[in-house]
């Protein structure tokens, strides 16, 4: 029986899951919306992966020996599925991308709520930056503007490519960008130019904020949900003056990276899809032992406490039965 590894990336907007084998080939993959419920989303991901796995009759051939979680709900889902590796998305993305593209030098990443840049040398990340304080120019911004314009965010790229020129929109701040956009709409600017302007604004904002002071060297890989937007990709290529590569599995890179990390950890334990059918509950408890009022998160599986975190000092530590 060959070994396989599971990776789940639970982001603010979407949840991704992959199963890879020892040669880092993707055996099963899944991508769906988180819809504000990371536990349900990851259960659905597990169901989907399981059915893909069964359909390919891989269950007789492969055995999942390690699992990992990443993304903003990594801790919760990690304790839920008993993952060996629970790591931040920056490391996961860097590892995933450098595994698939060993020659990459710069990784641009724009997700639902954050954006980051990772500089790579000799196949290992040497510097990174992440947006601070503000979510201007991320996927969430684009989808809220799509809603305002009455188009689907998935169509954004296509529409933007049709435009002859991009309407100038300030992207330093989401609020300012929005008032610029409303103004352009009121003066009768065509929709595709506005959409192209938004894409340009996202690229410009990214390069001026997150990537400030970082040297962008080719080959450049662009990933995260926004990389599916052809308009933003073109604006990046124009601004940088170099080709920008978008991997067709770019949206799975975090999940792929964490699966690779799970493989590297060499901590092996049989994984069962049964967790997808168990009942998990979380409860938030406010600790009253000092004025910090830490919010302690307790995770229960079938009524049993399996994990808790969030306390800043030992006073708030919850003893497990």
């Amino acid at each position: 029986m060959k070994k396989a590894y599971l990776g789940i990336d639970i982001g603010s907007i979407s949840t991704k899951g992959v199963i890879i084998n020892e040669e880092n080939e993707i055996l099963a993959q899944c991508y769906l919306w988180t819809e504000g419920n990371p536990m349900n989303a990851s259960k659905n991901v597990l169901h989907e992966l399981k059915s893909q796995f069964d359909a390919a009759n891989s269950r007789e051939e492969y055995k999942i020996v390690a699992s990992g979680t990443t993304g903003s709900a990594r801790k919760l889902v990690g304790s839920m599925i008993g993952a060996q590796v629970v790591k931040n998305e920056i490391t996961a993305h860097a590892v995933g991308t450098t595994t698939l593209h060993p020659d990459v030098r710069t990784i641009l990443e724009i997700g639902g709520q954050d954006s980051k840049i990772i500089c790579v040398e000799n196949g290992v990340a040497v510097d990174y930056a992440m947006n601070t304080l503000c979510a201007a120019g991320t996927g969430a911004f684009l989808s809220s503007q799509a809603h305002r314009l009455g188009v689907e965010v998935e169509e954004f790229g296509e529409i933007a490519l049709k435009a002859k020129k991009a309407a100038p929109i300030a992207a330093r701040c989401t609020v300012f960008a929005e008032s610029d956009l409303v103004h352009k709409l009121q003066v009768g600017c065509p929709k595709e130019e506005i959409i192209a302007g938004l894409c340009k604004a996202v690229a410009g904002n990214y390069l001026n904020n997150v990537a400030k002071g970082k040297k962008i060297v080719a080959p450049v890989v662009f990933q995260g949900g926004v990389s599916k937007n052809a308009g933003v990709v073109r604006m990046f290529e124009e601004e940088l003056g170099m080709p920008v590569l978008v991997d067709e599995n770019g949206h799975l890179m975090g999940a792929f990276g964490i699966a690779v990390l799970a493989k590297e950890s060499q901590d092996e334990r049989a994984f069962s899809f049964d967790v997808a059918d168990m009942e998990f509950k979380t409860r938030e408890v406010t600790c009253g032992k000092c004025a910090n009022h830490c919010e302690i998160i307790c995770v229960y599986r079938d009524g049993m406490l399996i994990d808790s975190w969030g306390n800043r000092c030992d006073n708030g530590a919850i003893k497990q039965q």
């Binding site: 490391t91 000799n122 290992v124 040497v126 510097d127 601070t132 004025a291 009022h293």
Partner: protein, 360 residues
């Protein structure tokens, strides 16, 4: 039973890390007044501070205002606020007004008005707090208090440098806590010295599992946020828990007694010809030192909107490029959760660690 009424004035100072203990010592042993020693800051402190602060004041203003209000609630009669080289110099005046408008009745001493004043004026100020002041005691008290600050800086530096590699988990923290406790209650120069020697010896004797090339991270940045653990959300503690050796040049000893700005400036000539404000010279100097010593990474800490430190960022970018050392920039306001910080620090540490494995 003999009834003893404490006539000493109750003095308070905004919290700044554990330097409270040294200030307490100077106030109690030197001046002969009573010091209101506050418990560690909590979320409540920052909430109180931000509630009554102007929106655009920086985080240190809010933290110190919160501390002062808590001190008043604890019975303080004399509040002392310091002056400084940036907006801080104006903070005393503003906080005095805010506290008066809140309806508290207290004596507010703004040290900004005394900065650069003669020795006579300082003694007059101390006499104002305690009319029965003994000037000789004040001199020894101040000297020993400063000494305590120096000792605390030394032990703290040792702690953050090595605690990430302790062989027995929690052994470093235990000694460190014990030491701070002793400083908190010390009543003589002898006690301070003995506590220091004991802690130093104990820390030196503790076994370490230090790898050959540990991940070394240098922390640089703005005076208050970098030193005050509560303000920087226990940044250094988080780093040692990840397994790094953490170094920080900026502390009271290095900033005020050892490395004067004018002495450091020629060293950073390459990057800055003139002083860019409060602590930028120290920031640039220590970042440059860390880069030269082959550290793995630098973390730059500032409160949100701190203009002088913002000016230092382009210089740090130059250092980062010239010496090929990654710099993580952190900007603090009053955050509710640690999650964002944890993610960034973990990613930073992971990156440095993986880089080490591959490049060596």
């Amino acid at each position: 039973m003999e009834l003893r009424i404490d006539n000493r004035k109750k003095v308070a100072f905004p919290r700044i890390n554990h330097y409270d203990y040294a200030i307490r010592y100077i106030v109690e042993q030197g001046i002969g007044a009573q010091f209101i020693l506050l418990p560690p800051a909590t979320k409540k402190t920052s909430e109180l501070g931000s509630k009554y602060s102007p929106d655009y004041a920086c985080a240190p203003f809010k933290h110190s205002l919160g501390s002062l209000i808590e001190a008043l609630e604890a019975g303080a009669e004399v509040l002392v606020e310091t002056g400084g080289l940036c907006r801080l110099d104006y903070y005393g005046a503003l906080q005095k007004e805010i506290i008066r408008e809140l309806g508290y009745r207290c004596d507010f001493i703004n040290l900004a008005e005394y900065m650069g004043g003669s020795k006579k004026e300082w003694i007059r100020l101390a006499r104002h707090i305690n009319p029965k002041l003994n000037p000789a005691k004040l001199v020894t008290g101040a000297y020993e208090g400063v000494k305590m600050a120096e000792y605390m800086d030394e032990i703290e530096a040792m702690y953050y440098r090595n605690a990430g590699f302790e062989a027995e988990k929690g052994s470093y923290k235990k000694v460190y806590r014990q030491f701070l406790m002793e400083m908190q209650i010390a009543e003589s120069g002898q006690e301070i010295k003995r506590g220091y020697q004991r802690a130093k010896q104990a820390l030196e004797e503790l076994p370490l599992k230090m790898p050959e090339n540990p991940v070394r991270i240098g922390v640089v940045g703005e005076y208050y946020t970098i030193m005050d653990e509560h303000s920087n959300q226990f940044l250094q503690e988080k780093l040692i828990n990840l397994g790094a050796s953490v170094h920080r040049f900026m502390n009271i000893t290095n900033c005020h007694f050892r490395a004067k700005e004018t002495a450091l400036r020629p060293r950073i000539r390459e990057y800055a010809q003139y002083s860019m404000g409060p602590t930028t010279t120290w920031t640039i100097n220590s970042a440059m030192d860390y880069a030269k010593q082959g550290f793995d990474g630098i973390i730059h800490v500032k409160s949100f909107g701190c203009t002088p430190e913002m000016d230092a960022i382009p210089v740090l970018q130059n250092i980062s490029r010239d010496y090929h050392i990654p710099v993580l920039y952190l900007s603090y306001d009053l955050q509710e959760s640690d999650t964002g910080l944890d993610t960034r620090l973990e990613a930073f540490y992971d990156m440095l660690e993986r880089k080490k494995k591959v490049l060596r």
